[in-house]
Symmetry: C2
Subunit: 224 residues, 2 copies
């Protein structure tokens, strides 16, 4: 079995046109016949396949939540993780400069090549087969998604809740700082005219302590 056959076995798809697979693996540093056009196509197909999966999986999610969930899947870091699980790095065709600087393990190149391979499959056999491959490769990533991760941060949610009721935004006051300079604990109080007085958050930075104080407020308001 030649190396590309090994790759195809892992992908779960054999290209009719091996030239298409080779092109999908070729970085622009290696030549003009590179993966960039295929990547354009694959990026778009991945977008709609993930959109459909999320649409069906999260029936109560609104458009903004679906959009945030999709972003968490189609971002470079997630694609590179999937590409590494498929061992794509072993098969990249890179120019000497990229080879020397470790391009075979760079997130941006790995994610581009994954998209280019998706584009190649779509071009050869259409949407349905490509969608099935995507569902297979991204199964773990998709299974780990939950609607709760689409929520905005606690301070934003608290502010929006108060705003919607025409109440003033809360104030955050640092009421205590303990410890040495690189190991401090901040204690912050979240204050508002309609809020109880004892909403406290702690954290290693003022910012974290404020978010924790806002979380305490959301709990009291039964929004968390």
């Amino acid at each position: 079995m030649n190396p590309l056959e090994h790759l195809e076995r892992r992908l779960g798809y054999s290209f009719n046109d091996q030239g298409l697979l080779t092109r999908a693996l070729t970085h622009r540093s290696q030549g003009a016949k590179n993966y960039e056009r295929l990547e354009f196509l694959g990026d778009a197909l991945l977008g709609v396949v993930i959109a459909e999966t999320l649409y069906k999986k999260f029936e109560t999610a609104n458009e903004g939540q679906l959009s945030r969930l999709r972003s968490s899947i189609v971002r470079k870091e997630t694609l590179a993780r999937v590409a590494r699980a498929l061992n794509l790095g072993e098969h990249l065709l890179l120019g000497p400069g990229e080879l020397k600087s470790g391009g075979f393990n760079r997130d941006s190149i790995l994610s581009d090549v994954l998209e280019a391979i998706i584009g190649g499959i779509y071009l050869e056999v259409g949407h349905d087969v490509a969608a099935a491959r995507i569902a297979d490769w991204f199964a773990t990533e998709l299974a780990s998604l939950s609607l709760s991760q689409t929520q905005k941060d606690p301070k934003t949610r608290l502010q929006e809740y108060l705003q919607a009721r025409a109440l003033a935004p809360p104030e955050y006051k640092v009421i205590n700082v303990e410890g040495k300079s690189h190991d401090q604990i901040f204690t912050v109080q979240c204050c508002g005219s309609e809020l109880p007085p004892d909403l406290i958050g702690e954290g290693a930075s003022r910012k974290i302590a404020e978010q924790n104080a806002a979380t305490a407020a959301l709990k009291i308001l039964q929004l968390d």
Copy 2:
């Protein structure tokens, strides 16, 4: 024939589930069961169908050019034009506020509804039928595309050309302004050490005159 049947005839597609079409036509001002989730799906499908069409039509285009061509199709104004040609405005389901403020003719709502209908067809019968409808509805817009429109503006192209040859960027000098304050003609000269001296552009603003002077330079350099 009821109004929705008229619409379906224009769309070239009859929904199995009329509720899906109704939902695709319903703005959020009219209720919680609105088009927003379908729009999320349709937007993504439109993206890949246009991507594939352009990939096949423009074999020499690079990724950046394909991306710029797609943007010119999937932008709000183009989608609204297609939506108007399909008379979508007549069938929108809007809340009282949107109705009063002319929402049935607003570009953003028309383009959203077009995407939602695409999403509904994709959901009912899949990629291929939806792609065929898109090809039909967008035929005129797609036929009018040309690779030349993907070019960057003349000043940028001139600067990049000179930069690639390690030459200094050109200078643009206003050499004449004629006419009254709201009806002026600017004349600008494009100057550079490797450029001939008589590269002149005119225009109703300094900016336009500069672009025209850069165009004159590109012509002399046989880049236009």
